[in-house]
């Protein structure tokens, strides 16, 4: 049963917050805290070792900003989803967290239950930010070539294309006609703003490609 639990790493430089949140999260039936630290500099090594699905990072970790950790986290194989915890909900904080590539933001000035809910939402593939950040969210999608507009089928085609499959092979794998695959590939190129299969594959391999986060776990 425990294999189905959401594996979580918590990082907050306030030991009392870490202790409280750890107890609360561990009490959730579908969650398991696999590690917790007050030191931002330990996060990357702990993620490598413990392979959590979600990392909850305090916005300010002593001398390190959570936003500085997000890029190296996203570059890791099996990159975890990142939820940033902060007491500030001003435009600068929201924007910096969004632009750094986190999947969500949870407030320390709101109920910890909202942090729990946000963990589930990011695991489900949602971006958890205030509605007001929509302009920046849209801009983030545009900057990454509109990956947010991809349909589920286009994402499947994209993955197979990135594995090096030809249109004929993709058609066989997805039980579609070759023409239908061509159609999807054409749309995929348009939405990603790329010219050929190589560019599309490279984009697929780059960290943070999926504007709406990785596909849902469940």
């Amino acid at each position: 049963m425990s294999r189905d639990k959401i594996r979580i790493l918590l990082c907050d430089d306030h030991a009392i917050v870490l202790e409280g949140l750890r107890a609360l999260v561990d009490g959730e039936e579908d969650m398991e805290v696999v590690g917790a630290t007050t030191k931002g500099e330990d996060v990357l090594a702990m993620v490598s070792e413990l392979t959590p699905e979600v990392v909850v990072l305090d916005y300010e970790l002593g001398g390190i900003r959570a936003t500085e950790l997000i890029e190296p986290l996203r570059a890791m194989p099996d990159a975890p989803r990142v939820l940033v915890l902060t007491a500030y909900h001003d435009g600068e904080t929201i924007r910096s967290v969004l632009e750094a590539g986190a999947e969500g933001l949870a407030l320390k000035t709101a109920s910890p239950q909202q942090t729990i809910a946000a963990i589930r939402q990011v695991v489900d593939g949602q971006l958890v930010f205030p509605q007001a950040a929509r302009r920046w969210r849209e801009a983030r999608g545009a900057a990454r070539g509109g990956a947010s507009e991809l349909t589920g089928r286009e994402r499947e085609v994209w993955s197979l294309l990135a594995e090096g499959l030809t249109n004929v092979q993709i058609a066989a794998r997805l039980t579609l006609s070759e023409n239908t695959v061509k159609f999807h590939v054409q749309h995929l190129f348009q939405k990603l703003g790329v010219k050929n299969r190589t560019e599309a594959a490279l984009r697929h391999a780059s960290p943070g490609r999926a504007t709406n986060g990785p596909p849902p776990r469940r």
Binding site: A87, Y88, D90, G91, T109, A110, S111, P130, A132
Partner: protein, 228 residues
Amino acid sequence: MNTDEHKVADASLRLFAAGERELQRIVLDMHDGPVQDVFAAVSHLQLLQRELADRPAEARRAGQAVQLLERALSEVRTLIGVFRPPGFERRALGAILEGLCVQHEAMTDQPVELTMDADLGDCELPTQIALYRILHEALANGHRHARATRQTVSVERHGAEIFLTVTDNGRGFDTPRVLAAEADVGVEGGHFGLRGIQDRVAMLSGSFSLDSTPGQGTVLRITVPAVR
């Protein structure tokens, strides 16, 4: 202005910045202390509440404590939102004002339509502080008092001056009466913060106009020098 008047004006503007530094300190203290403690306490209490599932009376009491602490957190959230200075010395005026509009939207769930010159140019600290605090007050007024459902903000630079216009579709008010009521409010400030807005504009030798009619929304226009 003669030399003495210049000294007074300089001192007033320095007080602007000093006030912001003081706010920064208070907000940091609130962030590092009560916010962390209360958040941690609520986490423990929520767990306790769940563990007391078979003792309904005790669970209910824990639940009441959770509600009280969550209300305290929510009040702290508002205070931090209102008072935390936005990093005036690190960030450009445009980014600061845009961030303020987003924060207002996030807190109120009401849209703010912002149009702004791409580059507002150099702008001195007292002007940045004044524009930020004025916009903050204007957006809060539109939401709190005028019950506006739509607010628009425009920020433009013409020559050495910044023009800020804030409009809303709220219920409006009798401008002369409200301005007269706020003419000589003391330390506690007026109901609408209009005295504070006018004082900030006056300190920068800018101009202020307010057009409002009951039932027809409000337009606030501010012009202040970007640099002195």
